[in-house]
Symmetry: none
Subunit: 322 residues, 2 copies
């Protein structure tokens, strides 16, 4: 693996054709926005390019998908975007795991699997790096790219609310709005409108919250039964994990999500008092300082015990009496 700069990545893409763009499983606004913006930029240079994902793209992102033609072809160059680990490509894309020519990522916890890597963990959203690469390729950002890139920045920064929101993130948002990004309808679709199933699931999830460590740790558990009862789909799960961290006095917000195989997907959100990546690192996972994850096996109680142990080891002060 060799690290490349923005210009290095732009040169590689400019020299390539028949480019397959891989995005991560359980796709979110940043990986989708990064993938389709890059795909559209490459197509505007006359190249053949397509985005592939292990999972179906949730309907609310259709405004990005429908704007970029997806031709079928045998790839000569493979580029992964916002993929922190080959595992996150998902099962159906594992065939490409050791064939990735270039990965463009912003996760500090990135685990190398690619031939060439453009990594910038200072970027709150991967779409911010993609914008730099698109400009380095000499492509003028049009409305389609602007909508995609704005979506990536807005969703990964919690609409400019999270600690990963930098002055550059705001300046890029301004630039993308001037390039035609339809910020308001995008924000409404991403942050306001919730499906009935999501509302139902949110109600059940709130009922499940338990508190530990002098109420500085809050654990929310989403079981397969809850998901079935609510009728929620994958995209209804987005934005659930921050709920616990929003409770006054909570340092560490934990969401346990039971998977079909009985394992638990653990999402951890923290404020300035704790490092989510450090906690998940102790549990075989990783991520960002304020948002990280891992996967654990066992009963709900066993999983909660493992997570609480990791939290207390990574954040000893959390057990101090107030």
């Amino acid at each position: 693996m060799s690290k490349v700069t923005v210009n290095g990545a732009a040169d590689m893409l400019a020299a390539a054709d028949r480019i397959l763009i891989l995005i991560h499983q359980f796709p979110d606004g940043d990986t989708i926005g990064s993938g389709f913006a890059l795909c559209h930029a490459l197509q505007s240079l006359g190249k053949t390019a397509r985005v592939v994902c292990h999972d179906a793209i949730p309907e609310k992102y259709n405004y990005m998908v429908s704007a970029v033609p997806q031709p079928d072809f045998e790839p000569d160059f493979i580029c992964a975007v916002d993929v922190a680990d080959a595992k996150l490509l998902g099962e159906s894309l594992q065939v490409y795991a050791d064939r990735v020519d270039l990965c463009i990522d912003h996760h500090g916890s990135h685990r190398e699997f690619e031939k060439h890597l453009l990594l910038d963990a200072s970027m709150g959203a991967n779409a911010m790096i993609i914008l730099q690469v698109i400009e380095a390729m000499g492509v003028t950002v049009d409305q389609t790219m602007a909508d995609c890139l704005y979506t990536g920045i807005a969703t990964d920064t919690g609409c400019f609310k999270y600690s990963n929101t930098t002055p550059l993130a705001h300046r890029m948002a301004a630039q993308l709005m001037e390039a035609g990004a339809q910020a308001e309808p995008i924000n409404r679709a991403m942050f306001d409108i919730k499906s009935r199933a999501r509302m139902h699931l949110e109600k059940l999830a709130l009922q499940s919250i338990s508190f530990y460590d002098h109420d500085r740790t809050a654990v929310m558990c989403v079981t397969t039964d809850m998901i079935r009862e609510s009728g929620a789909e994958e995209n209804d799960m987005e934005g659930l994990s921050p709920l616990t961290r929003q409770i006054e006095g909570v340092w560490v917000g934990v969401m346990l999500r039971e998977k079909a195989d009985g394992d638990y997907k653990v999402s951890i959100r923290t404020g300035t008092h704790a490092d989510a990546a450090a906690i998940c690192g102790l549990l075989g996972g990783g991520g960002h300082p304020r948002a990280a994850g891992c996967t654990l096996s066992g009963t709900t109680d066993e999983v909660i015990a493992q997570v609480r142990d990791a939290i207390q080891r990574a954040v000893p002060r959390i057990t101090e009496v107030k």
Copy 2:
């Protein structure tokens, strides 16, 4: 009344001293941020200045209030900020209503009451105009001013989510962060943090939602029992009424709040398919096209029946089969 430019307003303030700054009643982040940023900027020029408000400043804004000394003095110059109408000064400040030398405001609906007016309705937040005035006075924005002005911009734009968020709002946010604005803790305090009582009440409120009119009407009921059980206080009620409107496919979101006397305070929120003011007009209330209210008596079922009847009369299409 004469209109003035940013530079004109800056010159007037630079020439003045013993400046009393008036902000509007029921103060929000923008009027408070505008007032205390301007006060601190004037003090940094060696001037005597103070901010006054008819109401007490809510505790969550203390980081702005505590950062700016508030001396007592007889004013020679009176400046109102973010005050769209003399009435909004509140009862205790009516004594100043016809003595305001300068008003700096961003409301298109501004009703003139001042000697000189700096009005820019293109600004999503009044704090954006204040930043321009502070710079025009030659004052360097320090962290205190940056915190105040960032708060004003973030709160009035719904953390950069609403349609009033312009590229300039994003660029000013970037500039203020570089000037030291503590964006993340401010965002957390303004938009994220909910008391446990609020979380509890939200859970109970979500449980109470019922749907009518092919799921285009959603009714949420908050009883005195729920408020008692959750331990919620008045400020925990903020932002509850829009919840039903956020549900996909809902045209009319209704929140019933049982009052101490047993009557119900009815809040109605609508999208583009229905007129909230028209519905509440049929029930003896009123308001805006997207947000209106009224007060009704009777049992919960009787009140819901009255509201549903008004909705069906004001929005006949709501009963049409999909």
